[in-house]
């Protein structure tokens, strides 16, 4: 790359290069968010199973 302008326009391929990288970035960030959601769901499951266990004991 020789200039910012060339970097942004990617020659004449900016319309294809940037959406490709953008999509990749979005999906990779979504992966992190989904992993977070799954962790929350797992923690909830563990807590719920504890409360039912305590109910059975009492």
């Amino acid at each position: 790359m020789t200039s910012w302008h060339e970097f942004v326009t990617m020659g004449r391929f900016g319309l294809f290069v940037w959406p490709a990288f953008g999509f990749g970035l979005v999906v990779m960030l979504l992966n992190i968010y989904w992993a977070h959601l799954r962790e929350k769901a797992a923690h909830r499951e563990v807590r719920e199973s504890r409360s039912t266990e305590e109910e059975i004991r009492s």
């Binding site: 020659g11 294809f16 989904w34 797992a42």
Partner: protein
């Protein structure tokens, strides 16, 4: 500690839960660093391709995702085998954690491949062997994920998905070969030319990015596996202890 006892202990969920945390954190930072360096090298330093201009740079996201989509399916198939043969709980958890990640990599590979195809081949989609087997792979991922989550008893889901993953692992190369065979019958080899010799200044960012994607996957798969283990063993003592009130 010998290697054998290490693997033996790794199979125990509480031990895995404990040690996977620092490993995951390390993977995340290494992955981020490698991806940033790779992107700098690929998007800025590498010279434009003499045939494809700057369009070839899509390679730096397409090739690592396509590679990961196959690698993750291989991981799932190996874990499925281990799970079915040795009944190792951790293996099923790793397979279940990997499937959504693999599907995501496959989606990225498909979309970026289309975006690359438009300026290079003049069309978003061609039915060549690579694109078609990638699409089939995506459907297989969806099948594995759906099957795994369809059953009331998670153990049944794990085993069913494992069988599908093993059959799928045999199927993907066959699909690739069959489309390849069909292509040569019809169009000849008009889509080649992307596999030509690649200059070192273009190659190293690609290798760095591939390594970066591997670490990124390593981080997320450890994270997700911890969740999968908790979901599978929610009522065990160790899970109750790990998740304090």
């Amino acid at each position: 500690m010998t290697l054998k006892t290490f693997f033996h202990r790794l199979g125990s969920p509480p031990y895995f839960y404990q040690i996977s945390r620092p490993w995951g954190r390390a993977f995340a930072w290494i992955g981020l660093l490698l991806i940033l360096v790779g992107l700098y090298g690929g998007l800025w330093l590498a010279p434009p391709d003499y045939q494809q201009g700057n369009g070839f740079r899509i390679m730096y996201v397409h090739v690592p995702s396509a590679w990961m989509s196959l690698f993750v399916f291989m991981v799932i198939a190996v874990c499925s085998f281990i799970g079915l043969v040795w009944r190792m709980r951790l293996a099923y958890a790793v397979a279940a954690a990997s499937a959504p990640l693999g599907a995501a990599f496959t989606a990225v590979a498909l979309v970026t491949g289309s975006l690359w195809g438009k300026p290079m081949w003049g069309t978003y989609w061609v039915w060549d062997a690579r694109l078609t087997s990638e699409l089939i792979l995506f459907f297989l991922y969806l099948g594995v994920i759906t099957l795994n989550r369809s059953f009331e008893d998670q153990k049944t889901g794990d085993k069913a998905a494992a069988i599908l993953a093993l059959v799928g692992a045999i199927d993907v190369p066959i699909v690739h070969y069959s489309v390849d065979w069909w292509q040569t019958l019809h169009q000849g080899s008009s889509f080649k030319g992307l596999t030509s010799e690649i200059a070192p200044s273009m190659l190293w960012p690609l290798l760095v990015l591939m390594a970066g994607f591997m670490f990124y996957y390593g981080w997320l798969v450890l994270w997700r596996t911890r969740s999968e283990l908790l979901l599978r063993e929610a009522d065990r003592d160790w899970a109750q202890q790990v998740i304090g009130s």
